[in-house]
């Protein structure tokens, strides 16, 4: 049947005209390059903001030399810039990219524009995993991301199963299941917190709300690698996601190996959320706000939505964290408070619009 409609083709006026607005590889490349450029500029600019003022030109020179030259910065300034601020900004970018790419994929897979790692309880699952790691394997650093990933994966499957009914998973049912899992895990978190001493409780609460200040070099490296590889794998499955977005049955009929793709997405998205939570706690609503804005401006084709959401998510959290650490300097807000401040109203709007 390769000759279908050869006859009909002749009578089709201007097929090229159909192509307008369709997402192509070229369009994706241009959009992602622009976002990457903006992200790099944002990283450079936000590294100049902070409670300790740094000389602009020397700072840019030091970053551009990749730390090879101090460019006239004092040793203190040099340490603030390259050992405190820059790692934190890079972590913000990795966390933002991870959460936004995971959010966009959850939304397509679960056919639900409201699906988001934080609201689905996936972030809390990862948080419980991280806590278990802290309490039981505190000395082994890698136990945190590993347990966070396990927690994220477990809660993803739990919410997915809870949301299934005979009529399939409705958006409301899914969010409700997410809320149930979230509150259950929250009480587990509260229970463990009460066993801690007062000073630890404070830093712990801060971490729970999303705190980018307390990471280590190896966790930062892990978060960055997972963000890049995870986004690549999710993007590689984006065409299947396009069909899953229309329903699992449709996708199956059209040739998608539904259970295989679903497993890949759950696995990779959980890794992304797990590595973010292990290094910075639960930063909420990034996975909701960013994919929504990306879809508004670039359309719903996941081949562009997923990678563009990753870049835009990085940008969003880098800026949000800069606000969080400068707005009441020298004190800091958890970055999760800023993202929730923007995200919660948007969630209400999306819910209303239904």
């Amino acid at each position: 049947m390769t000759t279908t409609s050869e006859t009909a083709l002749k009578s089709v006026p201007n097929i090229r005209g159909l192509d307008v607005g369709r997402v192509t590889f070229r369009k994706t490349l241009v959009a992602c390059s622009l976002l990457l450029g903006t992200l790099l500029i944002a990283i450079l600019v936000t590294s100049l903001f902070g409670s300790e003022p740094l000389p602009t030109r020397a700072s840019i020179c030091a970053i551009a030399s990749l730390g090879q030259s101090s460019c006239g910065l004092t040793p203190d300034q040099y340490a603030i810039l390259l050992q405190i601020r820059l790692p934190r900004i890079l972590l913000a970018a990795a966390v933002g990219a991870s959460l936004a790419a995971a959010g966009a994929s959850y939304q397509a897979l679960l056919r639900n524009p409201l699906a988001e790692p934080y609201l689905l309880g996936v972030s809390n699952g990862a948080a419980v995993g991280t806590m278990i790691a802290l309490v039981f394997f505190g000395s082994w650093e890698w136990s945190r991301p590993l347990m966070a990933f396990t927690g994220a994966l477990a809660s993803t499957f739990l919410v997915y199963r809870l949301a299934q009914s005979r009529a399939g998973a409705s958006p409301e049912r899914l969010i409700l299941s997410g809320v149930i899992v979230t509150t259950f895990l929250s009480s587990a978190i509260v229970f463990v917190t009460t066993l801690m001493d007062a000073t630890r409780i404070r830093s712990f609460t801060f971490w729970l709300l999303g705190d980018l200040s307390g990471t280590t070099t190896s966790l930062l490296a892990l978060a960055m690698i997972v963000a890049v590889l995870g986004t690549a794998v999710l993007s590689a499955n984006a065409r299947s996601l396009n069909l899953l977005m229309l329903g699992e049955r449709d996708a199956f009929d059209l040739g998608v190996e539904v259970s295989k793709v679903r497993l890949i997405i759950f696995f990779v998205a959980s890794m992304l959320v797990g590595s973010s939570v292990a290094s910075s706690g639960s930063v909420g609503y990034v996975g909701l706000v960013v994919p929504h804005l990306v879809r508004l401006s670039l359309g719903s084709d996941n081949r562009i939505t997923v990678p563009a959401a990753a870049f835009a998510g990085a940008l969003f959290v880098v800026v949000a964290d800069t606000v969080a650490r400068t707005i009441i300097a020298p004190r800091e807000l958890p970055v999760g408070a800023i993202t929730a401040l923007i995200g919660a109203p948007l969630f209400v709007y999306l819910l209303k619009r239904g």
Binding site: S5, R239, M245, R249, G255
Partner: protein, 262 residues
Amino acid sequence: MLQANNITIKYGERLAVAAVSLRIQPGEIIAILGPNGAGKSTLLRALNGGIRPTTGEVLLDGQPLTQYPRRVVSRRIAVVAQEGDVRFPVTVLEFVLGGRYASGSTGAWGWETEQDIRVAGSVLHETELSELSGRLMNELSGGERQRAVLARALATEASVLLLDEPTANLDLEHQAAILALVRGRSELHKVAAVVVTHDLNLAAEFSHQVLLMKHGRGLAFGAPAEVLTPELLKELFNVQILVDAHPVTGVPRITPVHEAHR
């Protein structure tokens, strides 16, 4: 080419399809008729592997369906089902291009080729959707959406079409147009079609064979004139039915006679 061998499908204790066999030849249009809950749609879903029979098997070119990779099956068998709600802003063109997923030589990441766009363009034209190609799916009327679903199935260039009530949302003009389209594919390209429908007269007019189903079982199978008799239809629907010849086409014309008028 597609064949169901004595398939039985159980949902728990409930028997949805009981020992039904069906042989689908190239170019043949088969209508499945029966009351609600007779197992028509379940049988249709089994024919493309969407539901696995509890016993029996479905063969594609002599091989069990389960032995083919999913993509290969989808390249050969396309489904037109009642479409669920589209919750994301997807354009009609994007929706129809979904039908090219299985035919693409590249992986899932693949981008559509010129050929894909051409095929989509021609099926949009055939289903009279060219003008709407840039519109969003959830802005369309029920009938337009139903045509988009058909366009997507045609875009697969599959040699078997499975249609589940394809004309349910359509006005008279578009009902005829869609069935003419399916008929045209069957005559020109030897595409086979299995149509589940409640419209007895459309079945009489457009199908080569009719399968009557009740309580999961095949009640009768044969040409419309043999199967669409008052006796069999009364048994099927528990309603008095008048069958005469269509004044124009001569195919069986079915008129239910309701209690009040008897």
